[in-house]
């Protein structure tokens, strides 16, 4: 008899994104039934007619199987189901994984769908392909399928399970039972539930729990599928899990276990608090709504927060994060001299109003919205890229909300010169038909923080998105048609139509011209042939009919694998009504910007949070899904609510984040928080982004960079085109904007970067320049102490400590003043204190 206990955290793991999320996720993850489970009911499967002897053998085998499944009564006999038993075995033992037979080309001639997303195809591969050579109905254990898996035939994938294992017996039973293929009317799998024995979600290092996974079907039956479940841990340094589902806490922290069976995935969160007894006073100070959830979580985990950062550090941190600019020596002095209690708040307000704010966030959005030239056959040229950049700049400067920017951009029509926002579709649709292009992937990733690209070819491995969901979603873009022109032939236009429709209209125009030529011949021409005239008129009528029919045809997209024609439908599978003759994108936008759509608000909030705190609440930052919950659900809610309540005002969220105590913690780690990267117990130092670092170097040395085609003095964050030649920016990993993935921006620290910083001609010239900062400081400050101070202010935006000043002054006493100063300047530019935000 199976027994499951309903627990409060079981609900949380199914609804990892909280209440507002429910609306979006409801259809994907219905609430688990609170009822205790009844005995597994397995009589739903049809038994094929079999000869009596086979039936007897089969029943015998089934008894063994069922007893293994913990079912006490085997009175009802049945053949294993292809979808519910056989495919899960193939998935559980890795046969259909992406590295083996599940990859597109298969392995060694045997091809399965990735994790069994296409059961009919798998059935054909297993049972029918090669005239059934993989199956030996007479002696099932001699089937190639089994021999490979149990190791009696040579198999590069090795032995997957033993001959007398449940998996092997299941396959044998299925073969003996006549190898039924997928059955359409089988009860549908509705959800999975994870429970742990003992029933605990808070563990100490070294403690273990056994996980049990229960599948629920739409006929109200339930089944223990633990042995067919694949388990994975979110962080193996915190929690490890065995194939059989034994989860063991390794060290303090919090993470999730994901359990997947067929196309369902469930998640359970486990907390492993630290062993320390921190002073409760550490968690008391809170600046705003953000700090509650952060410090509550830290207290629950018994992680000690770091101290607050000092004022100079805060000034530098806030300036670099909010406007991408290094503070000047004067700004440092003024801020340190300011004795107002709330000077940090005033600083934040003034930063968010600076003109450089517009530059920086235009650049930031241009990365997200992929503003670049097309890699081949570009129709816009640098001019078009600049046009879109200027358009974005206007949006930011006018303080338009993310909702407004997104709606305007995604519904853009017209020519690139009239409406530069069309550029977004030029880059993402390119030369393809919209429904075959990357536009759906890009929109989902940039605006919804969802990676659906994988579902183009196979079901999403970690989320419920199927290939059908993908093509339903693609449908919203099926009326985007680009009339592409070479730049010299005029601007490219986006029309709400299909390519087919554009072709028909073009043909109609041609025929109309022809008709008018025939009807009004030049006086000296021969009179028109009436039959020709008649043909053209007929053709015109026909074209008009075709155009009308196409214009009135429902918006649909063909799913290439199944051939099924699918209407547009959002990713949460909610019903949307498409008014005929309208742009389907409008319907998508309405769904998207609905305040209850946490994917839209959450994607932006998570990106902003990552921008300021270094690590997203959800990581990777554009991979929001039920199975990848935020590291602090309460904080997630606070941020999303704040964003929605402000009507999607990005600046409002930035202000909230920057004013929080959380954002103002120092980087210095202590014994209890050194391992924490997800709970914001200390600030995460990180290398400056390529453009900001280059601008900081220019600012410190007083020597601006020159970019070909742009006036000298233009800062790197102001350059619109990511293909603008720059050895530095390429080396430090600016985003090429080829996809919407944030992973494009390279944050790696590499050896060539360090070589460049230490030894490049460019940097050396900037430091040594006679009209540079160092030369000016040397002239202006004959006093060594003062000179040292000014060099520190120009580079690290702080005063040197007494010991630093003394150590450096000793070098000045021993050496040539100019050269020592140059060496100091060089060394400070090379510190991580300069190249990192901290």
């Amino acid at each position: 008899m199976l027994r499951l206990t309903d627990r409060s955290h079981a609900a949380a793991m199914i609804h990892p994104f909280g209440e507002r999320q429910e609306k979006t996720y409801q259809k994907l993850n219905p609430s688990p039934s609170p009822l205790p489970l009844r005995k597994e009911k397995r009589g739903r499967r049809r038994i094929p007619s079999l000869p009596p002897l086979a039936l007897f053998t089969f029943s015998l085998a089934l008894c063994i199987c069922l007893s293994l499944w913990g079912v006490t009564s085997a009175a009802e006999t049945q053949v294993p189901s292809f979808q519910d038993d056989i495919v899960p075995v193939l998935t559980r033992f890795g046969c259909n994984s992406g590295g083996c037979h599940g990859k597109l080309s298969g392995q060694n001639g045997f091809r399965l769908s990735l994790r069994g997303f296409a059961p009919q195809q798998d059935f054909e591969s297993i049972a029918l392909e090669g005239r059934g050579r993989r199956i030996s109905p007479a002696v099932p254990l001699r089937s190639l399928l089994l021999q490979k898996a149990i190791g009696t035939a040579s198999h590069r994938g090795g032995v997957r399970f033993d001959a007398d294992s449940p998996a092997s017996r299941l396959l044998v039973d299925w073969i003996r039972g006549g190898m039924p293929g997928p059955v359409a009317n089988e009860p549908a799998l509705m959800r999975l539930t994870i429970t742990s024995i003992p029933d605990r979600s808070v563990l100490k290092p070294g403690e273990s729990v056994s996980l049990k996974v229960t599948a629920s079907y739409d006929d109200d039956t339930q089944r223990d599928v633990t042995w067919l479940t694949n388990f994975a841990t979110g962080d193996s340094t915190v929690l490890q899990v065995t194939e059989a589902g034994l989860a063991t806490a390794v060290r303090a922290g919090e993470t999730v276990i994901r359990a997947s069976f067929r196309e369902e995935i469930a998640v359970a969160t486990f907390t492993v608090p630290f062993d320390s007894q921190p002073d409760p006073a550490l968690y008391v100070a809170r600046h705003n709504a953000i700090d509650g959830p952060v410090f509550d979580k830290l207290q629950a985990l018994r992680i000690e927060p770091s101290a607050d950062c000092d004022d100079a550090t805060f000034l530098r941190r806030a300036s670099l994060d909010a406007i991408g600019v290094l503070p000047t020596a004067d700004e440092v002095r003024a801020f340190l001299a300011d004795d107002r209690q709330d000077k940090r708040m005033h600083l934040i307000n003034s930063l968010l109003d600076r003109p450089e704010f517009v530059d920086y966030w235009t650049h930031w959005l241009a990365d997200l919205l992929q503003n670049r030239k097309e890699r081949d056959h570009d129709v816009r040229g640098t001019k078009g890229v600049r046009g879109f950049h200027v358009w974005l700049r206007r949006q930011v400067a006018a303080g338009r909300s993310w909702k407004e920017i997104a709606s305007t951009l995604l519904s853009a029509t017209g020519s690139t010169t009239e409406n530069p926002a069309v550029g977004y579709f030029i880059v993402t649709v390119g030369e393809q038909e919209a429904e075959k292009s990357e536009v759906a992937d890009s929109v989902a990733q940039a605006f919804l923080g969802t990676r659906i690209g994988c579902a183009r070819c196979h079901n999403h491995p970690l989320e419920k998105y199927t290939q059908d969901d993908y093509y339903h979603f693609v449908g919203f873009f099926s009326r985007v048609a680009l009339q592409r022109k070479k730049p010299e032939e005029g601007p490219t236009e986006l029309l709400v139509a299909t390519r087919h429709l554009l072709n028909l209209r073009k043909e109609l125009d041609n025929q109309m011209a022809k008709l008018s030529e025939l009807e009004h011949p030049a006086s000296d021409a021969t009179p028109p042939d009436t039959s020709q005239l008649e043909n053209v008129r007929k053709r015109i009528e026909d074209l008009k009919r075709q155009i009308e029919s196409v214009e009135n045809s429902p918006v649909e997209v063909r799913q290439p694998r199944t051939g099924e024609v699918l209407p547009p439908r959002p990713l949460d599978r909610s019903d949307v009504a498409l008014a005929s003759g309208t742009d389907p994108r409008e319907t998508l936008i309405d769904w998207m910007i609905d305040p209850s759509n946490e994917h839209f608000s959450g994607a932006m909030v998570n990106r902003l949070w990552k921008h300021f705190l270094g690590v997203g609440l959800v990581e990777p930052v554009d991979d929001l899904r039920a199975t990848n919950p935020p590291s602090n659900l309460e904080l997630w809610k606070v941020l999303n609510d704040a964003f929605v309540a402000s009507d999607f005002d990005m600046k409002h969220v930035m202000r909230l984040i920057m004013n929080s105590r959380t954002y103002q913690l120092a980087i210095d780690t202590n014994d209890s928080n050194a391992l924490d990267h997800r709970f914001y117990s200390h600030f995460q130092p990180r290398r400056l982004p390529a453009e900001v670092l280059l601008d900081a170097i220019c600012c410190a040395t007083g020597q601006p960079e020159s970019f070909a085609g742009y006036p000298k003095g233009l800062r790197a964050v102001q350059v619109p085109d990511p293909f603008t030649d720059s050895y530095f920016l390429t080396m430090f990993g600016r985003a090429p904007r080829t996809t919407a993935c944030t992973c494009e921006r390279e944050n790696d620290v590499t050896l060539p970067q360090l070589l460049h910083l230490q030894n490049s001609d460019e940097l050396t010239a900037k430091v040594k320049s006679p009209d540079g900062r160092l030369a000016a400081l040397l002239k202006r400050y004959p006093n060594d102490d003062r000179l040292i101070e000014e060099i520190y202010l120009a580079t690290l935006s702080r005063f040197p400590s007494t010991s630093e000043r003394d150590a450096v002054r000793a070098m000045f006493d021993d050496g040539d003043r100019d050269q020592t100063a140059a060496d100091l300047f060089w060394a400070l530019l090379n510190t991580s204190e300069f190249t990192f935000n901290h």
Binding site: G94, C743, D748
Partner: protein
């Protein structure tokens, strides 16, 4: 298997905060030098001479003297120091070096687009023109790690490019891109960022060393941050490279005897070959020498007459020099382009792109020399014996270094992918 079980290696190298396994960079670097030691194939290094644009096989290594005039072209075959093997008359020095190489006349694939084909042959996997798959050099850097003071993957003078850069590290990330050596034939050749930007007296070198070590206190305040750890580690290594001079020495082509430099030819290609030898001698694992400009759609005769002699001199010098120094025992040298050229000479007296047939050269690391593998038909149009596909070449190169070409890598979005999804070792090279 469930994909999440595999750590995502690339993310892992990104922001320290994200490292899903929480390993610090020092652990990673240790693991990497470990990996470096694990590369245990017959070859310790590889030099890939890439003839971008597509060398005409008809006019170099696969002459068809019996074909009609508009196919056989202008050049006569000449005898070589291997009985029965004849090559084009523009290759007199190679003709005396054929005993030290293995000629493959059966390179074959089916894509005649420069970018797509280049990325294909440089990675061994077919993908888009924009480079979906990491080039072999990047794979090698990924597998070998950064064991010495020199970068593991160097491109001389730079990566191939027609319009955009090719042969990149794709999803492996910027860490594994080639180090670009620049043109060693420049009179004032200096390697960007390695050669000292300004002459520094010893006292300043010392002062900079001291300052660098003393002024940067950030790493000491933060534990367990991969980016900071990497920064400190690479900062030291870069300082060693710049200040100690070991790396500069590797690139110091002027240290080679004038006579030898002349033997390689005072051309970009010749000196690139010589620099490649210096680098593998000092422990660089993968060097590409990129020699572009073989796309002779028009006026092919003057084109070849200006380029083939450079190749003839430079490549024969490389093979001979490497042979004399015993470097071929542990270095695999390969020369190839992205495809061959059309049999028929076109109206502009040129040959166009032709993917079904191309010639390649192999030597070193156990390759049996003085022989020919494969053949094309009478017109040099189709391979009729032992076709060698891009994946076979990549398989041979990688396995020669001891890298399992079927090894799985993980893309940033978590997809497990094999380094190569097809191909096998070119066994004829070794028998």
């Amino acid at each position: 298997m469930f994909d999440l079980r595999f750590p995502n290696r690339r993310d892992f190298l990104r922001v320290g905060g994200l490292a899903p396994l929480g390993l610090g960079l020092p652990t990673l670097l240790a693991a990497e030098s470990q990996a470096g030691q694990n590369l245990s194939g017959p070859a310790k290094s590889v030099i890939l001479v890439f003839l971008g644009g597509g060398l005409s096989h008809h006019d170099s290594f696969d002459l068809k003297p019996d074909a009609i005039e508009e196919i056989r072209g202008k050049y006569r075959p000449i005898d070589t120091n291997v009985a029965g093997v004849r090559i084009g008359e523009l290759l007199p020095m190679m003709s005396q070096t054929m005993d030290k190489v293995c000629l493959v006349r059966s390179g074959a694939h089916n894509n005649d687009h420069h970018e797509t084909a280049t990325n294909w042959v440089m990675s061994g996997r077919f993908g888009s023109a924009f480079g979906d798959w990491p080039a072999m050099g990047a794979i090698v850097a990924h597998e070998s790690g950064f064991p010495g003071t020199l970068p593991p993957y160097v491109a001389i003078p730079r990566n191939p490019s027609f319009t955009w850069e090719l042969g990149k590290s794709a999803f492996l990330g910027g860490r594994y891109e080639s180090f670009k050596a620049g043109d060693p034939n420049d009179v004032n050749y200096r390697v960007r960022d390695v050669a000292r930007a300004e002459p520094l007296p010893e006292v300043r070198v010392q002062r900079r060393r001291t300052l660098l070590q003393s002024v940067d206190g950030l790493a000491r305040r933060v534990e367990n941050n991969d980016q900071l750890a990497a920064y400190s580690q690479f900062q030291q290594r870069a300082a060693e490279m710049v200040l100690s001079g070991e790396a500069r020495d590797a690139f110091a082509i002027e240290a080679e005897a004038d006579q030898l430099r002349d033997r390689y030819g005072r051309t970009t290609f010749g000196q690139s070959c010589l620099l490649a030898r210096r680098l593998v001698e000092r422990g660089v694992t993968f060097v590409t020498v990129n020699f572009a400009g073989w796309d002779h759609h028009a006026k092919i005769w003057p084109g070849l007459e200006s380029k083939l002699p450079d190749f003839d001199r430079g490549f024969s010098a490389l093979v001979t020099d490497m042979h004399q120094r015993g470097l071929l025992d542990q270095t695999l040298v390969v020369a190839m382009g992205e495809f061959g050229r059309t049999p028929k000479i076109n109206k502009d007296v040129g040959r166009d792109h032709w993917a079904p047939a191309a010639s390649m050269l192999f030597t070193g690391a156990g390759v049996k020399t003085g022989k020919v593998i494969g053949a094309t038909d009478r017109d040099g149009a189709e391979v009729i014996d032992s076709p060698v596909r891009p994946a076979d070449v990549a398989f041979t190169i990688l396995s020669s270094l001891g890298i399992d070409p079927r090894k799985q890598l993980v893309t940033p979005d978590g997809r497990p992918v094999e380094i190569l999804d097809e191909g096998e070792r070119i066994e004829e090279l070794y028998v």
